[in-house]
Amino acid sequence: LSTTDDDGDGSDGSDGSDGSDGDDGGDGMDGDDGSDGGDSTEAFQIGMVDSQTGSLSAFGERNQRGVDLALSRVNEVGIDGRELDIVVEDSESENQGGIAAAQKLVNQDGVPFLIGAVGSGVSLAIYESVVEGTDVVQLSQNSTGLNLTEFPGLLRMSPSGRSQSLALSNIIADDGYDEVAVTYVNNDYGQSLTDAFVDAYDGEVVYNTPHDQDQQSYSGVISEMNGSGADAWLFVTYQAEFATMVNEVFSSGYDAQFYGADSVSGDNVLENTPEGSIDGMNIVVPSAPVEEENYQSFASDFEAEYDRQPTSWAAYAYDCVINAALAIQAADEFAGAALQDTVRRVSGPEGETVTSFAAASEILADGGGPDDVDYQGVSGPIDFNEDGDPVGFLQVLEVQDHEYEGIDFVEG
Amino acid sequence: MGAMSEGALAKQDPVLAVDDLQKSFGGLAATDHATFGVERGTITGLIGPNGAGKSTLFNLISGFYEPDGGTVEVNGTDVTGMEPYEVAEHGLIRTFQTPRKLEGMTVREAMLVGPREQPGESFHRLFTSPGTVAESESANLAEAERILAEFEIDHLATQPATDISGGQMKLVELARAMLAEPEVLLLDEPVAGVNPTLAKKLKSQIRRLNEQGTTFLLIEHDMEFVMDLADPIVVLDQGHVLTEGTPEGVRNDDRVIDAYLGGGA
């Protein structure tokens, strides 16, 4: 630690907060920010790389709702009397944009804790090019791509897609289908989930083709799926693409048993597909047990605020913020190295089970250490494993009367 | 047609020989079995009514159009169907009837495109032998300045090449082609729109270059100009050669008077 410094001012913004920052190189920065913690009532500033524009901007929007809700929960209570502030930068849903955003957050704003990003590819790009080699904490809000597992330094709130793939292959097999047609969105997420599914599935995958995002029509894909002869169709794609496909299936008059990965589910799909068009579909989503009280209250808060049901994405983003806030409160200084240590422990299995920031914060304020709390997220119990992946629960949803109904739970 | 080809073959030393050339656009035969030759060292005039096919002939000779039939020989080489730049490599350069504008260049720069085979046109030599490049560039520049002065447009040297008057454009076009120092120069109406006083001077320019060895084939409607300068004169009508002869002979040919000269001349 070559420095001490103070500077303070952090501030939000425009001029990059606490000067110094610089160096991310590691330790230096933390020092300076630490002192920050000591002397002022300035807000703690952390960063988030989100898809505000670009092809995943719909996720960015969902995340933002979760983040806003979480921030208000945190700032109602405060962290040692200070507020939490999140600088959100846009990745444009691209590597280039994501890296530039992270560069600004880490090397300009000097945040020691970085939430980000949405797409699995972007999260990894940020990790490799900005975060690795520093002690900034990176916690991805939405990435479910399988290869994030290989980077233990990169945490994520959303569980790896592998468990989903396994669950899906079991469900499809259990339903008695020995042939399946798969289409997946042509990116890291879609590809890695599908690869895992194909590995796990015992039957024959008779059709397995990627599709590009944002196309105006997928009638080619669905007519090929129909032509493949499989009666079970698996979709690993996003809501907009899936909704398009459903409508095209509907208006083409095809018929099949649908299965889907988590990202195809959401109110948006229900609103924008004909009644009954996906009834009977099974979807595996990571989830906190919905009947749990913390999820219930999250959902009702969310509905009160935004007049819509939360998505699992909003829940992940929510948990990212709460987890970050707890890590900050539990750490003795506001610095990467310290946060690295606490970020896993505040939500890890040891300690008293709590389901809200307020409750957890109280324990910490009463002198509790990071291991004295076990925050249970609204998206699941969290409990990062050594690879930085959460231990997610999976819930199997079935569409009944054009509504999602939970029919089963699977351990991650 | 037979008789005409003999005429062409009769040339002692044709630097350009057009044999039975044909080109039609849709139903229109713009060039209709045209045959003639240009003797080395002459200034050959090419006249004919508007729409006779003179410019089309130039386009065929210089490789801009692909003929439907017939051949073009330059310096004894069959250049039929070659690309314009290949024809130019054989020593034939042409100007355009409607002057071409070069955007974003000064008049002087626009002139410097003229010289052929500049060492500086080879990318790698810019780096391997910059000295040679500079040398030839200086020489070309001096030559360009000289011609501009002769054409009385040296004061325009650093003007944007697009911001000059219509007549000035014709002059630049002509001057540039001369810089290329071809063996055969095809001029398409070099003095249309040029002030008569200046046209007179151009006449002597052309004559001088001709004495230095350049062969000219020129299209021109200014009778005073062609008749003074050119011998022989080829008359084109409706795509084929109507007659060929001395200025005197052509001027008095009834068919030519009828089709072209009219009562006015």
């Binding site: 070559s2 420095t3 500077d7 001029d15 990059g16 000067g19 110094s20 610089g22 160096d23 991310d24 190189g25 300076d32 505000q52 524009t53 901007s57 933002q64 959100v88 846009d90 849903s93 691209e94 590597n95 530039a100 600004k104 090397n107 300009q108 590819g121 990894l124 790009a125 490799e128 090019s129 080699g133 791509g145 042509n186 890291d188 590809q191 | 801009f64 730049y85 355009f96 071409r100 070069l102 955007e103 974003g104 260049m105 000064t106 720069e109 410097l112 500086g120 046109e121 080879s122 990318f123 780096f127 500079a134 560039e137 200086s138 020489a139 520049l141 001096a142 650093t158 944007p160 290329a180």
Partner: protein, 404 residues
Amino acid sequence: MSALTDPRGAVEELTRPEGWVLGVSVAFLLFLFVALLTGALGPTYFLFLVGLAGMYALLSFGLNSQWGFAGLINFSVAAFFGVGAYGAALFTASGSPLAELFEGVPLIPSLLGLPVVGLVVGLAVAFVLAILIGIPTLRLRADYLAIASLGLAEVVRLIVLNERWLTNGSAGVRGIPGFFAGWPVLGTFPEAMPGLRLEVIPGSPVLLETAFWRASLNVLLVLAFAGGVYFVLRRAHRSPWGRVLRTIRSDEDLARALGKDTYSFKMQSFVLGSLVMALAGVFYTHLNLYVGPGDLDPITTFYAWVAVILGGSGSNRGALFGGIVIVTIREGTRFLNDVALPIDPAPLRLLLIGVVIIAVMRYRPQGVLPPQRELIWPSAVDGGGAPESPDSGVRERKGGGGDE
């Protein structure tokens, strides 16, 4: 900026837009300098931005030598950029599928991992691609070339995305070393440098540590690339070679009539530009240490175009300037975003970028830095007994009727 790149150009020789740009640039540099000293601007982040600006400058150099010189409307910038990036990445990355592909092949495996080899390969692939794309498209008229190249770029992107055995598909390539990895001295320079702490303004120290030194190396690299390219382009631009290209740009038929093999010239210009774009890609690979198919998205093409047009087509200095403007537009708007506004922040930056582009097009003084000066081989003008080159630009002539 212009004073740096054109040492002969004394200040009084500048045209009005040049003076304007120079003034703004100096003011901007001063501003940056103060910001750095006071710690308001993180030095590492600043160097990252410099690297990015250098990358965009390279891209616009490349595009400029196609569009600005020869009038070729190339909408496949991203493809060449991506090919350069992928070429370098696949040859150097630890996780590259090439290692498997070339297993057992003599020699090649031992070359994998060397950034210099990656550089050469990136350029070589771009060279081949340029010729492949050039052969069919360079015969087309300008607008058609534009869309044909855009289409072919999409084909390249889809191949990179779908041919996993070669490119890793959508997972991208990771595990890329820095460009100087393995070099003597430079290879370990960032780690070897001690952390420095400068305190110019009391209370706002500036810290320079490993990441800073790593970023400095990147800047060094991009300066070397851009400097070399600038030297080559400047010479080419003022040469007879460049003049033929400009003739083609304005009137291809005229060039043909004067005996220039225009197809060959266009191909040379296209290949040259493509190589420069690929060079930008190589740099990008070692700057970001990760490449994915998203890096071939057409948006890169658009930004390169914006840079070239803002700087003034055909002007190398302008291209450099354009590169800086792009970074300011893309990254500078992040700061504007911090200003709290009562609107949904998400699309605000998009809006800002749009407004900035429109505003610059509206209020720029004549393409900021158009190629005003006559382009004649410099020593020819000095030594050839010809009059001095004019002191006002081609587009900027002022004054009364007489032109003397």
